[in-house]
């Protein structure tokens, strides 16, 4: 296959581009070369992945021509890698395009973005992610993983002059190092005493249940911290707003998927036959993550923080899909496992499409107005007439509105959830129902969240002068948004065809590809085969819904045009009794989320509102102050930090001991270890 021969050259070219970006980052030509080259490399990798997925499948191997003699590494492309390669590089193409336009626009406006920090690290970041997906042994995998972490850390610090960004970078670096360390331990446990770190060796080696269980816990911790599973999601809402928008799009839409790839690779492929509780852990964490993430997103005041928390929610949903697949696989029901697994992959692809689109939208709004806070925007649908509909597509897709892609994957996921009662264990029968309820709640809250996002940012009247004077962004950025928006619609309309691409991956990971009852019409109908019902019971066609929606729209419009009075009249709107209504009197982001905040967030998030009402006669404005805290900080991270600090204080005394005390310590340690040896023998 000729396209696959370009994989390694593309990776090497990405590394070279990083070097080029470091040489003369301020020149516009360098920006063009770096972003253009990155886009080209990503496009080649997309093609390679597509060729692999559409072709005969199988496993493609290529030895890496550099490295140490006893660490012979290979790049391996199998169906699972190809699926994730497709996601990463599709986003890579649009992010390069957007980044080029974004950099020019930011340079024009004279604020933000330092190209010297973004240009060198950006291609390297993509190279690191691709390397993780193509690695065939634990060493290469971890090298790629660390590469991805460190370059993205550099990108988070692109605007390092703001103190908040430095703090975000610090926390991100700590979380990333923690994740890598845990993954290192995980591979160590999997390789066992035989010490074969190649994935082929690990796959072939027998795993005893205790070691496999330990490896599962470690990979959930390690990959989960990167993906943003609660309660290890704390770095996302800090790091994503700090990074430039095209980088946040990649970190949020794609890097979290690379982490999920690690989770899938270990849980489904390397750790051997699954136990049912592996899936149970993912189900519990995933559903909690989904609900907490979206609730917190609803309370955010800043666009990119909101989007980051929404990523946390989506990661939760995908984890639930993977958890269901594991549970069904452990139960021996490969068919349903394949449905859940395909749903998880489809949702991952969808999320990478609409989340990058939404981050580009946020970036476009930032470029146009310089404002990131919801309550300082508004009315942008008039000022940004091209960006607004594209972002609307993203918001509708993430809210799972048919016929867009978000609906297809969530619908498929619910098909798997509804098969829960077929499971053997009664605990899991109950658990899948609870998970289903949590997912439904999260889906509804997502719709509310993005209604709020779109409504407050684009509708109404401008809430600040900056929003009132916004200017539409350039063609490169618009094109970068148009591509994922079009793909959102395409995947939503023809989900069956996209799912067909995942067949080999599902077959490799859960044993069988997803079965469809639609037969020859599979490209049009999404009809997962479940026992006990014929075609039509649970089937969905995006194309059909699209046609129906279009027909109804045309019909409704005709009806309105025919029956209504043609003349347009203008009049004063009713101002609720106020003579002069300023834009401040509009419904705001905080007003929108108030009911949900009071119902859901008072407990877990400790959300409190304080109204400072002036006395009659005072001229100052009334103030509403809203406070909430992320429970992950309150209950996990802060106590952990305090414990580490306490321990460090205690151990600090050891720095000032006398020589004799040091000798005593060593002697004690020696005697202790000798005693352990004597007892163990």
């Amino acid at each position: 296959m000729p396209a696959l021969q370009f994989v390694l050259p593309s990776l090497l070219l990405l590394l070279t581009l990083g070097g080029i970006g470091a040489v003369r980052p301020r020149s516009p030509r360098t920006a063009l070369i770096v972003y253009g080259g990155t886009a080209a490399c990503c496009a080649v990798l997309v093609l390679a992945a597509l060729v692999h997925l559409l072709g005969q499948g199988g496993v493609w191997r290529m030895p890496v021509p550099v490295g140490l003699p006893w660490l012979r590494s290979e790049l391996v492309l199998d169906a699972l890698s190809a699926v994730f390669l497709l996601m990463v590089n599709l986003a890579g193409v649009t992010a390069s395009l957007f980044g080029w336009g974004y950099g020019r626009a930011q340079a024009g406006s004279g604020h933000g973005l330092e190209p010297g920090r973004v240009l060198p690290a950006f291609p390297l970041f993509l190279a690191g992610m691709n390397l993780v997906l193509l690695a065939s042994d634990a060493f290469l995998f971890l090298v790629g993983w660390e590469f991805m972490s460190l370059t993205s850390w550099l990108l988070v610090l692109a605007n390092h002059r703001e103190a908040g960004n430095r703090e975000a970078g610090r926390i991100y670096l700590i979380m990333a190092s923690f994740g890598t360390m845990v993954l290192l331990l995980c591979f160590g446990v999997l390789a066992g005493s035989a010490g074969g770190y190649g994935f082929d060796d690990i796959r072939a080696a027998p795993h005893d249940p205790l070691a496999a269980g330990l490896a599962v816990m470690l990979v959930v911790l390690g990959a989960g911290s990167k993906a943003g599973l609660a309660p290890l999601h704390v770095w996302l809402p800090l790091a994503h707003p700090a990074a430039p928008s095209h980088v946040s799009a990649l970190m949020s839409g794609v890097m979290t998927k690379v982490a999920l790839y690690a989770l899938v690779r270990v849980l489904f492929d390397l750790a051997g036959t699954p136990d049912w509780w592996w899936g149970g852990v993912l189900l519990a964490l995933g559903s909690a993550t989904a609900v907490l993430g979206i609730l917190y997103a609803l309370m955010q005041d800043e666009m990119k923080r909101l989007l980051a928390y929404s990523t946390v929610e989506n990661i939760g949903v995908i984890s639930v899909g993977l958890g269901l697949a594991l549970v069904f696989k452990a139960d021996g029901q490969q068919g349903v496992a394949a449905i859940a697994f395909s749903a998880a992959l489809l949702h991952a692809l969808n999320h990478s499409l609409y989340k990058t689109l939404l981050f580009y939208g946020a970036g476009a709004v930032l470029t146009a107005t310089g404002q990131g806070g919801l309550n300082r925007l508004g009315g942008l649908i008039h000022r940004l007439p091209r960006t607004a509909p594209l972002v609307l597509v993203g918001a509708a897709a993430i809210s799972a509105l048919p016929p867009l892609n978000g609906f297809a994957s969530e619908w498929l996921l619910f098909q798997a959830v509804l098969s829960g009662p077929q499971l053997g264990l009664w605990e899991m029968k109950v658990a899948t129902m609870v998970v289903g309820v949590a997912l439904a709640l999260a889906a509804a809250l997502t719709a509310a969240c993005f209604l709020r996002f779109y409504g407050i940012v684009f509708l109404g009247r401008p809430r600040s002068p900056a929003a009132a004077q916004a200017r539409e962004v350039g063609p490169a950025m618009l094109l970068a948004m148009l591509l994922p928006a079009a793909l959102c619609l395409l995947v939503g309309v023809l989900p069956g065809s996209v799912l067909a691409l995942f067949g080999d991956a599902a077959a490799g990971m859960v044993g069988t590809p997803m079965d469809s009852r639609a037969g020859t019409l599979a490209w049009m109908w999404l009809a997962p085969a479940a026992p006990g019902d014929g075609f039509g019971g649970n089937s969905y066609s995006g194309l059909f819904v699209l046609g129906l929606t279009a027909a109804l729209t045309v019909l409704l419009r005709l009806l309105i045009v025919r029956t209504s009075d043609a003349a347009v009249r203008r009049g004063e709107p009713w101002g609720c009794g106020h003579p002069d209504v300023g834009p401040v009197a509009q419904y705001s982001g905080d007003s929108f989320s108030q009911p949900l905040r009071r119902v859901f967030a008072a407990g877990v998030f400790a959300a409190r509102e304080r109204v400072d009402m002036p006395e009659p006669g005072e001229m100052r404005p009334a103030r509403l102050e809203i406070r909430s805290s992320d429970p992950a900080w309150t209950w996990l991270i802060d106590p952990l930090c305090r414990a580490v600090g306490w321990l460090a204080d205690k151990v600090n005394g050891m720095q000032f001991l006398t020589i004799r005390h040091y000798l005593t310590l060593m002697f004690g340690a020696l005697v202790f270890l000798l005693t352990v040896v004597a007892v163990v023998k």
């Binding site: 020589i659 000798l663 002697f667 000798l674 023998k681």
Partner: protein
């Protein structure tokens, strides 16, 4: 030959260990040095006996080195240092004799429990030789941490080396060069400690390393 050879090796090894205990309860510096010299004599005898028993002539060299340096030159030099410096003749101890001896006995027990099962397939002589040697090493370490006096620590260190040599001569086929190196390491350590003593003495008028600890730049935490 077998029976008497084993008994003799055992007796000499046990005497080295016995002198380790003797080192632990000495309160006077001169007595400490004599005990160390006696231990070295027993070590030399053990080496010579092993050389004869294993028919391994280079162990005689080891025996001579041990006798010459450890039993004669070093103790005499140490005595001369004490005389030259005119220092206090008692050893400042960080722990009482009773608890020290109790810990010493438990360390020997630990060494036996550790070595005997680990070397189940080796010959009885090697096994017990190793157990005795490990005991001597551990007791040397114990001595280093229960003495405040620099000379006491140096002697603890050298008795630890004696334990290592005891282990080396008990094992068949240990090359001569290793023993030579150990002997010379002790020599070098002795020279360095000698200079060290003079320096400490010059500054603090005492060999109690407690005074040294308050002069470490970063300040001492009480």
């Amino acid at each position: 030959m077998g029976e008497i050879g084993y008994d003799m090796a055992h007796l000499l090894g046990a005497s080295v260990l016995l002198m380790s205990f003797a080192l632990l309860y000495q309160r006077r510096l001169t007595a400490l040095i004599s005990a160390f010299a006696t231990q070295s004599v027993f070590l030399a005898a053990a080496a010579a006996w092993q050389g004869f028993f294993q028919d391994n002539p280079h162990l005689y060299v080891t025996a001579v080195i041990a006798l010459l340096f450890k039993a004669l030159i070093i103790p005499l030099a140490l005595l001369r240092i004490i005389e030259r410096l005119g220092i206090h003749r008692t050893v400042q101890q960080a722990m009482g004799v009773g608890p020290t001896m109790a810990i010493g006995v438990s360390l020997v027990t630990l060494a036996l429990l550790l070595v005997l099962p680990l070397t189940a397939e080796a010959s009885a002589l090697t096994r017990e030789g190793l157990a005795l040697a490990l005991s001597v090493v551990l007791l040397g370490l114990l001595m280093m941490i229960t003495r405040r006096n620099a000379i006491g620590q140096v002697i603890g260190f050298m008795s630890l080396e004696n334990g290592l040599i005891l282990a080396a001569i008990g094992v068949r086929g240990m090359p001569l060069v290793v023993e030579m190196l150990v002997a010379f390491a002790v020599m070098v350590a002795f020279i360095i400690f000698g200079i060290f003593f003079f320096q400490i003495r010059e500054r603090f008028d005492s060999l109690d390393i407690h005074y040294l600890e308050s002069f470490r730049g970063e300040g001492r935490r009480e």
